[in-house]
Assembly symmetry: C2
Homo-oligomer: 222 residues x 2
């Protein structure tokens, strides 16, 4: 490619990466606000999270459209091409993380007697770990840093441990208080959604690792 | 493009579409076998579903690699470019549908006293609707048929109705039989996973519709 074309391509990539950073910021915000809504029962805040999801969908569509334009105009090869494909895939995963946060927020109105549930203190802690994973994996993506990517992958075990603990806790709560089973089931889904957010952050971390060093982290089970 | 290049491109697309059809066939099989394993408690079959998921991951990777190769070699424009991007996205979604089936299969060993659960008759019926959606949306994709795509989207309401009914059923079961709450919670997750499969089939249907007529079906809420 001629030099001016290379520069234009780099600008395109920078713009793409900026859009993905914005998408990631919205995902983090959605996770923490969704859990705040669940814990406090703030349905106004829950509605905000649900409505802002459309902004994430639009950003993903913008990434897609831009990637298609770059592919069409610049017909990049090898590493540059892989970079564009990675951007497409990562945008898709981050948008899905936003969907999980939206699903969490939607349960806000369906939980009764929230002061009695111990998991309501565990869930925000679990959500914080998941939101940090999302934050750090996008830092790893921006810096093309395989070390940070591996740290994110390792941290998924912490999210899984939270999930197991919350699951056991909620089931024993259900056994003791059958009248609240329906609310407890909603909290189970919340825990499950956070666990899936951790999985998706892990998937992105694996893509970042792959893009940086050409292999998947071999000693960590997928 | 010169005529021989056009022919080569068409062959590439045909091969890509063949890989996606194969992926879809495996997803359908995974859904029905996962539910059979859940209903009968057949852990051997469940293991088969889990192991075969690696084959789906490999097929998705093959679609990705082939798409990258086609983009690099042929630098397609406009419709052809969108076709490749659609193949990338659809392969990703179908692979994720396989993940949901794997998640269902993994719960096989965690359900006790299965003969007592009424949802064990509803879940396979629900799974059948979801598997049919996956089958039909890939038919719609192969035939670029927006009518079939719209039918798939409309059918998602049926899956949602199944989910609501199974949720209510399981919660009342939990209330009456607290000792089986843990098993019932597993069945809730199974229902939720099938519901997500329906959502993903709907997403693919929307992509197919978009690719065919250039707009999303407007009268159906996403």
């Amino acid at each position: 490619m001629a030099e001016h074309t290379v520069k234009a391509f780099d600008e395109d990539i920078t713009r793409l990466r900026g859009l993905i950073a914005e998408l990631g910021g919205l995902a983090e915000l959605a996770i923490s606000q969704a859990l705040e809504a669940i814990v406090t029962g703030d349905e106004e805040l829950a509605r905000e999270v649900v409505e802002r999801d459309a902004k994430m969908d639009a950003l993903e569509a913008e990434v897609d459209a831009m990637a298609v334009r770059v592919l069409a105009l610049r017909a990049p090869m090898a590493d540059d091409l892989r970079e564009i494909i990675a951007a497409l895939k990562i945008a898709g995963v981050v948008e899905r993380i936003g969907d999980y946060a939206k699903n969490i927020a939607k349960r806000t109105g369906r939980i009764e007697g929230r002061s009695r549930f111990e998991p309501l203190t565990l869930l925000p802690a679990m959500g914080e770990v998941a939101a940090e994973m999302v934050h750090d994996v996008l830092t790893a993506y921006a810096a093309r840093d395989p070390i940070v990517a591996r740290e994110v992958i390792a941290r998924d075990a912490k999210v899984d441990a939270f999930y197991d603990s919350i699951f056991r806790n909620l089931v024993s709560y259900m056994v003791e208080n059958p009248a609240t089973i329906s609310s407890a089931a909603q909290l189970l889904f919340v825990a499950r959604n956070i666990e899936r957010i951790g999985d998706h952050a892990t998937n992105v971390a694996e893509m970042v690792h792959f893009a940086a060093v050409g292999s998947y982290p071999s000693d960590i089970e997928r």
